[in-house]
């Protein structure tokens, strides 16, 4: 009995000592970003705010190093070397080029990336669920599964989902491939309409009439530039149009789930805090955006022949009630 008490006491002292040491020695987070840009600056701010909320306060028990390469990749590479050489507790790399230079330079230092769309394609990790090495992070890839959850919540009976995309836009093609795969996993069918330029968007949208129960648009630049064409077809043929970005809801789509880069930074900050608390990046799955803002447009829904339930409207971050 006495022995156990002694052991507990010893453990408690040890614990107190370690916290004491932790409190004295500031933890070092080195943040590199490829260029100053409103979205990327918001990520940086989000990381710092989240860390502060989790007890890592800059100037108190946290030292933050921050460098921007000002768009120059040679400087990005030198920043990466500088950070690796100073062996901070975590290196945070914002945007793909910075993340790649850090990954090339860092062998053992923990790395958390942020605002990287395709971590697999960028060869930062070989497995999203278990990265394995010293690197993990948050991807700003469209959370297509969450978008489809939302679509199915509004239209549980939709079986055939139409989309309009530009086959000449690499980003759009890979998103449509991903969409097709995710739809198939849900037993839904994808109906594609191709438009290589904005003037072809109307024709492509018309080709979906009678073949699709709903339309979901990715962040395809060509299609979004001429999104009014898709919306007019949706209204005339009563095919509800859903979007991947919230701005399109203001232009007449039924609903969209979007995110902002400050929240992206906050989520990155959570991962950084976990690494500071001793977790290994290699054991932490790569995350996509968790906090998404639902934008709905009930008037547009009505024009497309459906009504949004009060429940969904109550969940929405923003309800757009303008006629158009």
């Amino acid at each position: 009995m006495a022995k156990t008490t002694l052991r507990t006491l010893f453990a408690a002292t040890l614990l107190a000592l370690t916290t004491l040491v932790q409190a004295q020695e500031p933890r070092v987070v080195a943040i590199t970003q490829i260029v100053e840009h409103p979205a990327l600056d918001a990520v940086y701010q989000g990381i710092k705010d989240e860390l502060a909320e989790r007890g890592f306060k800059e100037g108190d028990n946290l030292e933050v190093m921050h460098e921007s390469a000002q768009g120059n990749s040679a400087i990005a590479s030198q920043i990466a070397r500088k950070f690796v050489g100073e062996s901070p507790d975590v290196i945070v790399a914002i945007a793909t080029p910075s993340a790649q230079t850090v990954a090339a330079a860092a062998r053992n230092t923990p790395v958390v990336f942020s605002a990287v769309t395709d971590p697999l394609g960028a060869k930062l990790v070989s497995n999203l669920d278990a990265p394995g090495a010293n690197i993990t992070g948050v991807s700003d890839m469209l959370p297509i599964d969450k978008h489809l959850d939302m679509l199915q919540r509004v239209m549980p009976d939709a079986k055939r989902i139409g989309t309009v995309y530009n086959p000449g836009e690499a980003n759009a093609v890979s998103l449509v491939e991903l969409l097709e795969e995710r739809l198939a996993a849900r037993g839904l069918e994808l109906v594609k309409g191709a438009a290589t330029k904005t003037s072809e968007v109307l024709g492509a949208a018309r080709s979906l009439v009678g073949k699709a129960d709903a339309i979901y648009l990715t962040t395809d630049n060509t299609v979004i530039s001429a999104v009014e064409a898709v919306i007019s077809v949706g209204e005339r043929a009563s095919i509800p149009v859903f979007a991947a970005d919230t701005a399109t809801v203001e232009r007449g789509a039924v609903a969209a789930l979007g995110f902002d880069y400050y929240d992206h930074g906050r989520q990155t900050g959570v991962m950084v805090a976990r690494v500071l608390n001793g977790e290994q990046p290699g054991d932490m799955a790569v995350e996509t955006m968790e906090k998404l803002d639902l934008f709905v447009n009930p008037a547009a829904a009505e024009r497309m022949g459906i009504s949004l339930s009060d429940e969904i409207i109550a969940d929405a971050e923003q309800v757009i009630d303008s006629a158009k």
């Binding site: 921007s68 590479s77 920043i79 070397r81 790649q100 690499a170």
Partner: protein, 300 residues
């Protein structure tokens, strides 16, 4: 102070930009041809090497193709100037802009990752050296070989004809030198070197990116001028050594600037520091000669 990794990193990047400075020395100094193509041929070399490497080519072969691609880009600039009589500066800007589209076409996307691919560096990591020392060793060898080849070339009959073309084109023509051909050859070799630099840079930093050419010309020029300030370029060898020395000094200066927290400097001040350094490098040699002149006058 600088950590070992930051120091070796600066030297590594400096060696790569030494190759760029070789190219700029050839065009700006030897041929007197202000060539901005390099902002496009640097990522061109990176793009060609990267896409061939992920296609399974031998990395050295891919790097060789990057050199050829750079040479082709340079030849286009020179031909626009020589055959179509477009002002040299404008011709190079045209090629540079066109190369942005070409590079995107070659890569098929804005960024091609090489992080897990076999590169020219891969076999060298088996050596008993620290991770950050390997690229320095390999690139020192590459730069040394390039320096020797360039030096021999400049002493050859063709090289002399090229130098004559740059020094006095009318006189060179009068001596029977095909000055147009010399310009095409010189600008091609210059951009071939820059393509080589781009290919090596992509392999050492783990990716080719379509934006990586931004500012290459400024950095190359700064390296050239800075090197000339330190190593007086009285002979071809000294001029070539000056290129490498200047490029490394420039990179060390940036590494120190990144570490200059004690001066209250921040990341966004970097471009200003670069401009100040380049200005100093340009002005200092003049100051040195005027002081030297004053001293000799006093003696007399």
């Amino acid at each position: 102070m600088l950590s070992n990794i930051a120091l070796y990193g600066a030297i590594e990047t400096g060696l790569i930009y030494g190759l760029v400075a070789f190219g700029i020395y050839l065009s700006f100094r030897v041929l007197d041809f202000p060539d901005l193509t390099v902002d496009g041929s640097f990522p061109l070399g990176a793009a060609v090497a990267a896409i061939l490497i992920i296609d399974g080519w031998n990395p050295w072969l891919a790097t060789g193709c990057a050199v050829m691609a750079g040479m082709a880009a340079g030849a286009v600039t020179a031909l626009l100037n020589v055959k179509l009589k477009i002002l040299n500066l404008l011709a190079s800007i045209l090629t540079m802009i066109a190369l942005y589209s070409v590079n995107l076409r070659i890569m098929g996307r804005p960024n091609v990752a090489l992080l897990t691919e076999e590169t020219v560096l891969t076999p060298w990591y088996d050596l008993d050296l620290a991770f950050h020392q390997v690229p320095v060793l390999l690139f020192t060898i590459v730069v040394f070989v390039a320096l020797i080849l360039l030096w021999r070339f400049m002493k050859s009959e063709t090289g002399l004809a090229m130098r004559a073309t740059g020094a006095n084109a009318r006189m060179a023509r009068a001596q029977g030198i095909a000055t147009g051909a010399m310009i095409v050859l010189g600008v091609a070799v210059s951009n071939g070197l820059v393509g080589l630099a781009g290919a090596l840079f992509a392999q050492s930093q783990g990716a080719a990116d379509v934006t990586m050419g931004v500012g290459v010309i400024v950095i190359g020029l700064a390296s050239l001028i800075g090197g000339e300030a330190v190593v007086t370029p009285s002979t071809v060898v000294r001029a070539l050594i000056a290129c490498v020395v200047g490029a490394i000094i420039y990179r060390l200066a940036i590494a120190f600037a990144l570490n200059a927290d004690f001066l209250g400097l921040q990341a966004q001040d970097l471009n200003l520091i670069t401009a100040v350094l380049v200005t100093l490098a340009i002005v200092l040699p003049g100051v040195r000669t005027s002081i030297a002149n004053r001293l000799t006058r006093n003696k007399a």
